[in-house]
Symmetry: C2
Subunit: 317 residues, 2 copies
């Protein structure tokens, strides 16, 4: 039996898993993330990994690889974290830092959205796919691509920034400085922004009532719940959101014609209330008679760990 | 020496070339295209090919393959032309029709924009690339992708419709029925539309003078020439056009991070007047510190022929 370690480092916690050949979790743990730099974070993760091995009664020599997913950009050698703002990592040589703790075991790094797509390929929505796209609707709009049956990290190694493809050229300002990025229309943050505009415009509406008129209390879930409950202003906001998301999905279909497009992130918890009109919107706009299956991502928060655990396989093949 | 035939069937003419191992033309010819159906067109192309062989004094047995590029969509087996509106081909089994004339020689079909990208890969702007994108600015906005060092025909075989990715969601109506496609902003047709709006709004301007006030006389070249000559309204139209094209280029960079993005089609004849501000626009909008080389396509009208000639190689590898 071969075992693999997958680590998903986030801005609040570090989740790590020990997986067996079937990609089942033998052990899993979570520790708080602290902004103490790559050296100290690597030491904490190394202790976390040794804890998992001890818990499972498995020796280090049974480990095939260690994979680490980070919310940021890597250099083309996938050895240095160039920028991971939520971690305070800038030019951090994380692969070498981790490798120092496990000299005999191959260590790999990946962007977390890429790793999530790889996880879905091996155990989720993309099993058996050659071409697939993952969109994650959260604070931002993240994305990962499977091309040629493998995780794709950009043709020049810069990675994928699906959230910063242009959807409404010259439109809403995006955090990146461009106006009109997909992220500025399809992230949960964008849904909240639009719901708050509707809140201000409709002081008698449900959005106003549910938040007590306080935009700081607006959430994507609240906006969706008000739309579900039939509030006209909230429904209008949600319909526009779905239309924009449909256009992003259609653009991906027309560019890559993938087999599956999976959508993850908090907004997906809306379920059919999101997916039914989304599929209808794509059907109306799509050029092709048959096209990608559109579905929810399957792995949730474990996608990054599972993908990280498969980085060795993705490389070696 | 191995020889290959490449044929590029267009709405007005059929161009065919006999190429040697170095992808140099041994013979080339052009015949008018007539809307007489796939059987008769195949017979005409077969005669054209035999003419090339006779001219070069080369026997059929020296041919490695015959490739045919068409301006339309193919089925997933790349055997039937599903829709090529400019040819009047709908469900035309062109591969079998061609194969009947050359039973011993492998025949391949491809979309013409895909074939052009393959041509650029083997003899043009994409030589040595693993990931590259071709945009063709003409009546529409065409495109072809190189992924993993090969021509990419879509993950499900539907091909690529870069022109129908969404650029201004809900914006200008596109011929496809969607509002706001890239094609509706970046094709030569879109440039002409905007120039005619400026013509009507500025009866004293250069656009009005040069066309005699007749929108039917507007061309992309005329609009560009007026912008070059310093006409304020024409310059404004051209600047907006370049900005939109820059956003399309940035979206491709953020989605695929290609090594090269080449731009072809009539609008490119503007040269540095197009490419200088385009590169500046991309630089301002791009997320990555280093990104794709942006350049003119190199093969012009011969790209389709050369790509078609290389379809066998693209498959066989």
């Amino acid at each position: 039996m071969v075992y693999r370690i997958g680590v998903d480092i986030g801005g609040t916690k570090i989740a790590a898993g020990l997986l067996d050949d079937n990609l089942d979790f033998v052990a899993i743990s979570s520790i708080p993330f602290m902004r103490v730099g790559g050296e100290a974070v690597s030491a904490a993760v190394a202790a976390q990994i040794r804890g998992l091995l001890a818990e499972a009664g498995i020796g280090e020599q049974a480990l095939q690889s260690i994979g680490v997913a980070v919310p940021g950009s890597l250099d083309a050698q996938e050895a240095v974290v160039l920028d991971a703002h939520n971690l305070g990592f800038h030019g951090e040589p994380l692969r070498a830092q981790m490798q120092a703790h496990f000299p005999a075991i191959p260590v790999y790094l990946a962007n977390d959205a890429n790793a999530a797509a790889l996880g879905e390929l091996h155990k989720g929505a993309f099993v058996g796919c050659q071409t697939a796209a993952l969109l994650t609707l959260g604070t931002g709009l993240g994305g990962g691509l499977i091309l040629n049956g493998r995780m794709f990290n950009g043709g020049r190694g810069n990675g994928i920034e699906v959230g910063h493809t242009v959807l409404v050229d010259g439109g809403e300002p995006c955090t990146c400085g461009i106006h009109g990025c997909s992220e500025a229309y399809c992230s949960a943050t964008a849904l909240i922004r639009e719901a708050n505009r509707a809140l201000r415009a409709n002081p008698a509406g449900m959005l106003h009532k549910e938040t007590g008129g306080d935009p700081a209390r607006m959430t994507a879930k609240l906006a969706i719940d008000c739309a579900k409950a039939g509030d006209a202003a909230a429904k209008q906001v949600f319909d526009a959101y779905v239309g924009h998301l449909g256009s992003v999905v259609v653009s991906i279909i027309h560019m890559l014609d993938p087999e599956v497009i999976a959508i993850g992130g908090g907004v997906c918890r809306a379920g059919d209330f999101l997916f039914d009109p989304l599929r209808e919107d794509v059907r109306a706009k799509c050029f092709f008679g048959s096209y990608a299956k559109i579905c929810a991502a399957q792995l949730g928060n474990e996608a990054g760990i599972i993908g990280a655990a498969m980085l060795h396989y993705n490389k070696a093949r």
